[in-house]
């Protein structure tokens, strides 16, 4: 019931937002909806941690990894909704947007959140596909939110590339379904029934199907070379949406890939899918590392960092063993840190009215608190100790060293390159001389609190993981 409650609440609020003409009420309802989603997600996660799988209704089923991603969606969703209120108010004051845009934003935001919840909780692969397609369609309008030519271009690129990717993912999905048709099953095919019947599938079809699924959903994950939409979309969307796209949506798509991985492994063994994940993962890290060096836009810088981190996760799942533990932990830490970084980037944008790195000077003097958040985020995301990502990266690389030492060493080298590139840009932005014409000072506490909460959660989780979350992580690791 909790899952239905979350999705219906978000959808009802989206519909109400279309009708309501008072901004305050729209903001209030949206915060209520996201807080309901957060509360219910915690309830679901606790149930999954004790029961293993929670399937309250035939169309929904949540496993341990699904519950972790649900928590990520709910937590980041709630924080970004709070941040969005103040962020959009500031943009209204600056005359960038009006009431209609604000209403459109909150309608689409709630649909986007509902679609992501549906994608991870759907018991049926096709419903998961429909939900991910729904995220593409709702976020396309959020990317083109500012209605500028560059935003329209980014949204168009996003729509076309992801639609092609998802159609290929759909094709891969239906190839898996051929194992069911041979049994004469015409009902709704769940992940579980697909797994149970997959032995009837020709191993070659399973391999081809997984390639299509990996390319298809991998486009949404942001794995190179299908990543080209990601930096454009993330840099043109409003900052809170970039936080959700980067911190949450990429993980949602990755979960679907991993579910198909388990199914494929049953027929062809682990090596085939593992090798593919390692190849795509390493290529993503390499692409991101070299492009970050020459990056001129800080939102694109964060987007490329997301490509790198999704590559690291793919590498972790590809290595298997402790690498999977590293990848699951990496998923959690990355979601929190990257969202905090994008929210901080939003505050920087509000102050400087630019996303060009060269034009951001004296950040530490002008926006002292936000700059500290950004610096902490930078240190955490690049794997500096004692933050959690240091541990997750170490787990992945150390597991890789056992079987794929050259690949692991190469990945480590690329991570160092990315750190150098990222550090160069960050030092230029925050440790340079303050420009005379820019007034110093944070604009609002409500732009500081949301990223602070995310960073605090990340720091706590770096040292202490609550028992229920620990159980979820362990179960996810043993399954995937």
């Amino acid at each position: 019931m909790e899952i239905i409650f979350i999705i219906t609440t978000l959808i009802i609020v989206a519909i109400l937002n279309v009708l309501i003409k008072r901004r305050l009420v729209i903001e209030f309802f949206s915060i209520i909806a996201s807080s309901v989603a957060l509360f219910e997600s915690i309830v679901v996660a606790v149930k999954v941690s004790t029961a293993g799988v929670y399937a309250p209704f035939v169309f929904f089923s949540v496993d341990s990894l699904g519950a972790i991603v649900m928590l990520i969606i709910a937590c980041v969703g709630f924080i970004t909704t709070i941040y969005s209120v103040q962020y959009l108010r500031q943009e209204t004051v600056k005359g960038i947007i009006g009431f209609t845009r604000v209403r459109q934003y909150f309608v689409l935001l709630n649909i986007f959140l509902a679609a992501m919840f549906l994608a991870v909780t759907a018991s049926n692969p096709v419903f998961a596909w429909i939900s991910i397609e729904a995220t593409t369609l709702s976020t396309a309008f959020l990317i083109s939110f500012y209605n500028k030519p560059s935003a329209i271009e980014a949204a168009w690129k996003y729509l076309i590339i992801n639609s092609i990717g998802l159609l290929l993912g759909f094709f891969g999905t239906l190839l898996y379904f051929t194992s069911m048709s041979s049994l004469g099953e015409n009902g709704f095919v769940s992940w579980q029934s697909l797994l149970a019947n997959i032995v009837h599938l020709d191993p070659l079809i399973a391999k081809i199907a997984f390639i299509f699924v990996l390319i298809g959903y991998g486009t949404k994950v942001g794995l190179a070379p299908m990543h080209t939409w990601l930096p454009d979309a993330h840099s043109k969307a409003p900052a809170p949406i970039s936080a959700l796209l980067s911190g949450v949506l990429l993980n949602v798509a990755l979960v679907v890939v991993l579910r198909f991985k388990i199914i494929t492994d049953t027929v062809v063994g682990q090596h085939f899918t593992q090798n593919l994940l390692i190849a795509f993962g390493l290529f993503s890290i390499a692409i991101a590392a070299f492009i970050v060096l020459t990056q001129e836009n800080y939102k694109r810088l964060l987007a490329y960092s997301s490509i790198e981190n999704m590559g690291i996760m793919a590498l972790g799942f590809g290595f298997g063993g402790l690498g999977v533990l590293g990848a699951v932990l990496h998923m959690i830490y990355h979601a929190l840190i990257k969202s905090a970084l994008f929210l901080s980037a939003g505050t920087i944008f509000l102050k400087y009215s630019t996303t060009k790195i060269a034009k951001i000077k004296g950040g530490l003097t002008i926006l002292p608190i936000t700059s500290i958040f950004f610096l902490v985020g930078f240190l955490a995301i690049t794997g500096t100790p004692p933050f959690g990502i240091f541990l997750s990266k170490m787990l992945i690389v150390s597991e890789g060293m056992k079987i794929y030492p050259i690949i692991s060493a190469l990945a480590l080298f690329l991570m160092v390159i990315l750190f150098i590139g990222f550090f160069k840009h960050v030092s230029n932005m925050f440790f340079s001389q303050k420009p005379k014409d820019t007034e110093a000072g944070e604009s609002s506490a409500w732009l500081i609190i949301p990223p602070l909460i995310l960073l605090v959660i990340m720091i706590i989780l770096s040292f202490y993981i609550p028992p229920f979350l620990s159980r979820l992580i362990n179960n996810a690791v043993s399954y995937y």
Partner: protein
């Protein structure tokens, strides 16, 4: 045939008609399946394809072409001889023995499945090769039709989840894509995607 025509056609109007025709063929496959099984969801899919893909979408595209004087489609990345060679190579690949497990899902329909697979490859080429936004949309829609054709030949069209997936894509995707096409026209004054060069930072 319609996909090859979409590749070679220089006129947007004819391309839209070709897409409508292609959708009509897909609809007839579903109609045939309905007569065989009496499955009402399939009948719903038939009606949706007829209304949205056969009638509304081509009409919308033609109206857009007339309204904005988009009589001729914009250029391709490959010239016509190279396009024809690429079409031949992709068709050969689809019939290649490596894809035998894929096209042998239903042995009786092996040729049809190979044809659907080649249609998938050719639709992908259409999307990559054309510079026009309308051609790209037609390419994505054609890719969808090709996958649906594969679904039918593989005997999977009875699966309700797949039917819902197809219905969702038909209804929502076309709507969103056409809205975006209007936005591109409004902002760029053309549907030529090569004029989109604002994302160089």
């Amino acid at each position: 045939m319609t996909i090859i025509f979409l590749h070679l056609s220089k006129k947007n109007f004819l391309a839209s008609i070709a897409y409508g025709l292609q959708s009509l063929v897909i609809m007839s496959f579903f109609l045939n399946s309905f007569f065989e099984t009496n499955n009402l969801t399939i009948l719903l899919v038939v009606f949706l394809i007829l209304i949205v893909k056969v009638v509304l979408a081509p009409l919308f595209f033609i109206r857009l072409i007339k309204k904005n004087a988009l009589a001729f489609s914009v250029s391709t990345y490959l010239n016509t001889p190279l396009t024809i060679i690429s079409i031949a190579i992709l068709t050969f690949i689809a019939y290649y023995q490596k894809f035998f497990p894929l096209t042998n899902i239903v042995p009786a329909d092996q040729d049809s499945l190979s044809l659907a697979l080649s249609a998938i490859f050719l639709s992908l080429l259409l999307i990559i090769n054309r510079k026009g936004a309308l051609s790209q949309i037609l390419g994505v829609l054609s890719l969808e039709n090709s996958i649906v054709a594969f679904v039918i030949f593989a005997g999977l069209e009875q699966n309700p989840a797949l039917q819902i997936g197809i219905i969702f894509n038909i209804g929502i995707w076309i709507l969103i894509a056409t809205i975006f096409m209007s936005m591109i026209l409004k902002h760029f004054g053309t549907l030529n995607v090569s004029s989109m060069n604002n994302l160089k930072d």
